[in-house]
Amino acid sequence: MWEHFAHQADIGIRAIAESLNSAFEEAALALTAIVTEPNNVAKIESVKIECSAENNELLLVNWLNSVIYEVAVRKMLFSRFEVRIENLKVSATIWGEKINQQKHSPAVEPKAVTYNQLSVKNENGKWTVQCVIDV
């Protein structure tokens, strides 16, 4: 599951899942939900993403920044994410469609992932990942 949490200037995203892979997938869904209703984004085109980092927290930042980059250069929104994490490396396929302002009524533009309130935790077998997105 994912949720948004309040930040005075921007928007916080949090995802909770059984595996780190799923938590990263949910976090990306939460990112799309900042812009529009994810259920309203068709899964027509796919894009591959690979990124790595020194630790899980920086990996979350790099992963979400990679998605923001694809949104920006392809002018697409994404609603399905398949993530595989091995040795601090993300290999992912993401599905979505071109942004249609009429259909998607984008509320804001995610500019970047901040390091504010960034955390990746595994407690009682559940992964919780969170960060604040600058919009």
Binding site: H4, F5, A6, H7, Q8, A9, D10, I11, G12, V35, E54, L58, V61, N62, N65, I68, Y69, V71, A72, V73, K75, K98, I99, N100, Q101, H104, S105, P106, A107, V108, E109, K111, A112, V113, T114, Y115, N116, L118, V132, D134, V135
Partner: protein, 476 residues
């Protein structure tokens, strides 16, 4: 960090004595209501900045300060490069040189009355805005590099506006020392189709009317009188700036420790100004500033074409252009000695007083126009920089209303359609592609801009010149 104690040093100035790792005091400009409502996290962000190496005098917060990430929004800090001073990616933020440009129109409120819906429609249709929008020009890599070196000067050479416009932009429309080679290919790719786009979130193009004049002499010098219509454009460096911020913040986060910089918050990621990474970031960030200046120049030309099509007598002359998210090398007096310092302004406006060499001749005796953007339902203000502002906060002033409520809360509390109706009742036309986006930007989700401006003026950071009210607001 323990809860800091605020000491009131004058009516509108509050000080936090250094404690813990703070090297200098924290200084917050605010009246008693603004300070009471200021979030604790905002105040701890002011203290965190005070702990960075090479900070000079104090870590400042303007009256519109609210929680950011790393620096608070409304934060100002100067660093001495010769004393190990740092440059912080978080101290500039992701929307490099996001700012406001205000234009005269040569029209009065009466000229627009009756045709305002047609004007609003045309501005909404012809100014690319919102996520997914593209500009009408696509730049090759070589052209992009020229734009990043040349800023608004480049845009004028390409036919967007006139040379006269450039006098009314900070640093003549082009920041020196930009190094486009230090901007990643990804950042450049992100910008290819985004020149001449407004962006989204709190960005806007607004048609406003002058409703009040506070200083007749300065207003006359700025060419303002009651009933005049103005256009204000609020936007920044678009995808390029966002990606420069992303790229360099990542590097600064991993390199900060190697310089012995202990970060109280990773978002404060900093490296010495005089380090290879510090210099690379300066070169890239200045390219970002030039991108924002070029972008606002192109949008100016788009607005001119729309206005003159509808009102043949319209003349959109520049009033001024200010940037809010920057780090700039400026000369300032510290303990009677002139020093070259790197001034970070994160959501704050430069506020040079009369006599500054950066001002155009016609404003030299008046001080720099300080353009304060309100919300779509409240006033905006034009202020003038003071000489006093230099000793108070390295010539800085507030930049806007400043949020008081989160977007998530605002979206729960209001509906976009209800805001549009309510503002229509006050003769304000709102155009937006997203009703949720409008709800998030609800005027009541912001601080009282008039109180912010009052505190700024009473503290001596800038002088009140004119008050503007919105007529048409095209949201990004």
């Amino acid at each position: 960090m323990a809860k800091p104690e605020l000491k009131r040093v004058s009516e509108n100035i509050w000080q936090i004595e250094p404690f813990g790792k703070m090297k200098v005091p924290g200084v917050i400009f605010a009246d008693s209501t603004l300070i009471k409502d200021m979030d604790e996290k905002t105040i701890s962000q002011v203290c965190n900045v005070a702990a960075l190496p090479g900070i000079v005098k104090a870590s400042f917060a303007m009256p519109d300060a609210h929680m950011g990430y790393g620096f608070c929004i409304g934060g100002v800090a100067a660093f001495d490069p010769e004393a190990g001073g740092v440059i912080s990616g978080g101290g500039v933020g992701f929307d490099i040189a996001c700012g406001v440009r205000t234009l005269h129109t040569g029209l009065s409120e009466d000229d627009i009355a009756g045709i305002s819906e047609k004007l609003a429609e045309a501005l909404f249709r012809d100014i690319p805005a919102g996520l997914g929008s593209t500009g009408n020009i696509t730049l090759s890599t070589a052209q992009l590099d020229n734009m990043l070196s040349g800023g608004a000067v480049w845009a004028v050479e390409k036919g967007f506006g006139t040379k006269e416009d450039l006098d009314f932009i900070e640093e003549g429309g082009c920041v020196k020392g930009a190094i486009p080679a230090k901007v990643s290919p990804q950042a450049k790719k992100r910008q290819r189709e985004e020149m001449g786009t407004l962006g989204s979130g709190n960005h806007y193009l607004e048609v406003q009317k002058v409703v009040d004049i506070y200083d007749e002499q300065i207003a006359e010098g700025f060419g303002l009188k009651k009933g005049d219509c103005l256009v204000s454009i609020h936007c920044g460096s678009r995808g390029l700036g966002h990606q420069i911020g992303t790229d360099y913040l990542r590097e600064m986060v991993s390199q900060a420790a190697s310089f012995g910089i202990d970060l109280p918050d990773r978002e404060l990621a900093s490296v010495p100004v005089n380090s290879p990474l510090g210099q690379d970031y300066l070169g890239a960030m200045r390219s970002g500033i030039n991108c924002a200046l070029a972008n606002r120049q192109i949008l100016t030309e788009l607005a001119r074409r729309i206005f003159t099509r509808i009102f043949p007598k319209a003349q959109l002359k520049m009033l001024y252009d200010v940037s809010h998210n920057t780090a700039k090398v400026e000369e300032h007096k510290v303990d009677g000695k002139s020093k070259s310092l790197l001034i970070h302004r994160k959501g704050a406006t430069r506020s040079f007083g009369p006599g500054s060499s950066d001002l155009p001749a016609c404003y030299k005796a008046l001080g720099q126009p300080v353009l304060i953007g309100g919300t779509m339902g409240t006033a905006s203000y034009i202020l003038a920089g003071t000489n006093e502002s230099e000793s108070l906060a390295f010539s800085s002033a507030c930049h806007g209303a400043g949020r008081s409520m989160s977007r998530t809360q605002a979206a729960k509390q209001w509906q976009g359609s209800q805001i549009v109706r309510e503002l229509a009742g006050r003769q304000i036309i709102i155009k937006s592609r997203s009703m949720r986006g409008l709800a998030e930007e609800a005027p009541d989700a912001y601080k009282n801009v008039s109180a912010v401006v009052e505190a700024t003026a009473n503290a001596g950071l800038a002088k009140k010149v004119a008050k503007l009210l919105p007529l048409i607001c095209v949201k990004g």
